[in-house]
């Protein structure tokens, strides 16, 4: 018990460190530049405690359960040697981690309420469908991106060519997408690759490139995140065209 409390407080301290720069900057601006009071200060303090506690528990739990299994699975599938199963796993991993990504949940909710204000959706039930569909669109596209990232490492495709292709797709999609989805679409790329997705996808990439002869984990292991942050942009714009 003592050991758990010690480990937990160490993690809590790490979360405080993550949040510290944000609060230092805001405090600096509040006290020296704006010199105004913050409305509803009590609620913000309570919320901050929730964020700290939540983030700590979340990361602690990830290290306890999700990361060890995820990494072990990634290595096991690489060793298994069946391409079909490896690709299915790659897709499922990208999809599953993205659905649980906290930043995506937050931004999708925000996008939903803004769309409601903007009159794109009318009812509460539509709002729920909109946010859920948005997240499933992003998750599916990250799944496809991880699958393509795995294929790239196996076949030795050039990352630069893939990225150029992705950029061209983004530009084409931008031409056809409604104006109100473009900002959300561009944002969804950076939003998806966060706390859960990055470590697990990186583990898959590094594991794969270190097991294939002629691939270097340092050079070929990277690039997965880049593909995973490009595909959602195109997918969300297609979602915007279809909605």
């Amino acid at each position: 018990m003592k050991k758990i409390i010690f480990a937990f407080s160490k993690k809590l301290l790490a979360s405080v460190q993550d949040l510290a720069p944000v609060f230092l900057v805001i405090a600096f601006f509040q006290l020296l530049v704006l010199q105004q009071s913050i409305p509803d200060f009590g609620n913000i303090i309570l919320g901050t405690v929730f964020v700290l506690l939540g983030l700590t528990l979340f990361v602690y739990g990830l290290n306890l359960g999700l990361f060890p299994i995820g990494e072990a699975l990634a290595f096991a599938f690489v060793k298994k040697g069946s391409l079909i199963w490896l690709l299915i796993f790659a897709f499922a991993l990208g999809f599953g981690t993205t659905i649980a990504e906290p930043a995506l949940i937050a931004v999708a909710n925000e996008a939903g309420s803004v769309a409601r204000l903007g009159g794109i959706i009318q009812t509460d039930s539509q709002l729920l469908i909109y946010t859920q569909m948005l997240r499933y669109t992003v998750a599916t596209s990250v799944g496809i991106a991880v699958l393509i990232g795995v294929l790239r490492i196996i076949k030795g495709w050039s990352l630069t060519h893939l990225i150029i292709g992705g950029y061209i797709l983004v530009i084409i999609a931008t031409i056809f997408a409604p104006e109100n989805i473009i900002g959300i679409a561009y944002d969804s790329g950076g939003v998806t690759t966060s706390t859960i997705t990055v470590p697990l996808i990186t583990a898959l990439g590094v594991g794969l490139s270190s097991s294939i002869r002629g691939r270097s984990p340092m050079v070929d292991g990277f690039g997965m995140i880049a593909i995973a942050s490009l595909f959602p942009i195109v997918a969300v714009m297609i979602f915007g065209i279809l909605w």
Binding site: G47, G65, G189, S229
Partner: protein
């Protein structure tokens, strides 16, 4: 307390897919028992509880905070009436500082920087790379705020950014390209994303003539594109200095 119960149920639905994926593949495809099952289950429960608290706290603290900062920094009482886009300089300074400080403190960026140092055989310095990424994020968010205030369509910036990245890719040392592309996604963390999103939405809703739906989003896109540019630029400079140093010997 009732306020907390619904999010708990919602979050269960959010965590379920990843649990299904991992357990499903482990048991049905690999046909292996899960090692340390008890620990793993406790881990998933902690992830579930933690995620719930985080999302509730986000709605209570980070989103309001970002919007309050946007409102106060743009209020006429603070900057005066009828200023042009240049009058909003405190917004740009705030955007720059918050971008720089959060990126510098980002743990996953540190991990990437250490790997980059190893890949390059030492010519990429850990601290220089972190500063390059942080500068990229800071300039990105500041420029993104300028875009919201001035109302220039976002795709002009993003597409120009893509073109710059492609030109840089042509000249940059090969080993660094994949890493630079990745650094864009890595620099924006779970804490930064909601705060910056709220800042953008707050700016778009307080400035006359801007729509939150069209102009409010996009800051994260800037924060993930500009580090790619700054890291590629840093790699070129560091590579050049490295080579010149060798020639001198």
């Amino acid at each position: 307390m009732v306020e907390l119960l619904q999010p708990f149920i919602d979050m269960f639905v959010d965590v379920a897919p990843i649990v299904l994926v991992l357990f499903g593949f482990q048991m049905l495809v690999l046909r292996q028992k899960i090692p340390h099952l008890k620990r793993v289950i406790i881990g998933f429960i902690l992830v579930w509880i933690g995620l719930t608290f985080f999302i509730v706290g986000l709605e209570k603290a980070l989103f309001p905070l970002g919007k309050i900062m946007a409102t106060q920094l743009t209020s006429p009482a603070f900057i005066g009436n009828n200023v042009g886009w240049g009058g909003y300089y405190w917004v740009y300074i705030f955007a720059f500082t918050i971008g720089f400080s959060t990126a510098i403190a980002e743990p996953s960026l540190l991990a990437v920087a250490i790997k980059a140092n190893q890949v390059s055989g030492g010519w990429i310095k850990i601290w220089s790379l972190r500063i390059a990424v942080a500068l990229g994020v800071a300039i990105g968010i500041a420029l993104g705020s300028f875009r919201i205030i001035s109302g220039v369509p976002i795709h002009y910036f993003i597409i120009s950014g893509y073109i710059i990245v492609l030109m840089q890719t042509y000249f940059a040392p090969k080993e660094i390209i994949a890493l630079a592309y990745d650094s864009g996604g890595v620099a924006t963390s779970t804490v930064t994303v909601p705060l910056i999103t709220a800042l953008g939405l707050g700016l778009a809703s307080t400035i006359d003539g801007r729509s939150t739906l069209i102009d409010g989003f996009g800051l994260i896109a800037f924060a993930s594109l500009f580090p790619i540019i700054s890291v590629l630029a840093y790699a070129q400079i560091a590579n050049y200095i490295n080579r010149r140093g060798k020639d001198a010997l």
